[in-house]
Chain length 156, copies 2
């Protein structure tokens, strides 16, 4: 059951190297590669990879990795910053206190800001501690969830 991430990168490759315009096609290609899943799963994979469907400029549409495959590079490094820096997260009401390795608070906070997570209203960083305020209506579960969703983006 741990094959999801390897599948994700295959999907990514397939999308990069082929002109695919629907999930069924992608499904077949995946099958050739040895991954047999349903359309539902694939739909979820695509969402996780942030794949878009864009015009080929004339007659149709095809799947493409986000524009940000460049931006994504930097985004990845932000996520790395977050991963490398964070020591712990705790919450109290709509406030979160993130502990980081010494001196890392700023880079982590900056990364969090840049990622502009919908759950975070704002951050304030010291040396090894970040205060972060959750947006109205958001819970710590939402934030942690969001973190988890972001993590798979890291690979290669």
């Amino acid at each position: 059951m741990k094959e999801r991430y390897s599948r994700l990168s295959v999907v990514k490759e397939l999308i990069k190297s082929n002109r695919i315009d629907n999930q069924d096609t992608l499904l077949s290609l995946l099958k050739e590669k040895g991954y047999e899943v349903t359309q539902a799963t694939l739909s979820r994979d695509l969402k996780m990879l942030k794949v878009g469907k864009i015009s080929d400029g004339w007659s149709g549409y095809y799947y493409a990795m986000p524009d940000n495959d460049l931006v994504s590079e930097s985004e990845k490094s932000y996520i790395q910053d977050v991963r490398r820096g964070i020591v712990s997260i705790e919450f109290s009401g709509n406030m979160g206190v993130i502990k980081t390795r010494s001196g890392h608070a700023n880079s982590v906070a900056f990364a969090l800001d840049t990622l502009s997570l919908p759950e975070i209203l704002g951050t304030l960083a010291g040396d090894d501690t970040i205060f972060c305020i959750l947006r109205e209506g958001m819970t710590k579960e939402d934030l942690l969830e969001s973190f988890k969703t972001r993590i798979p983006e890291i690979e290669e």
Copy 2:
């Protein structure tokens, strides 16, 4: 019945200035602007505008003008080259002979190459004449059709 193009530019504006993630929403916005059409028509409009649906980076997808809104600028100027330069087109079998204004053959041919129309296999330009070879299976009607589809892209 000539309201399509004005509607197209409104759609474009709406897409640029809002985060729209489905056609029904867009349909309502259009209605507010005084354009009342069906989802089917809108779907066709979006295709003509080459609108894509891309990830917002976290929870969902929204419509966006093609990346090429930049490239599109240059593409527009190519199309302009074509429009300004072409005098006539005639065909014989899978060959087309495009007459241009004197000295324009090269810029038109270059533009045609750059637009990489699926119908055209290759071009060869003199001073006021371009030979162009249709791709296997393509007809002159296909090419003319393709031209027409491209033209609306010019506006503003």
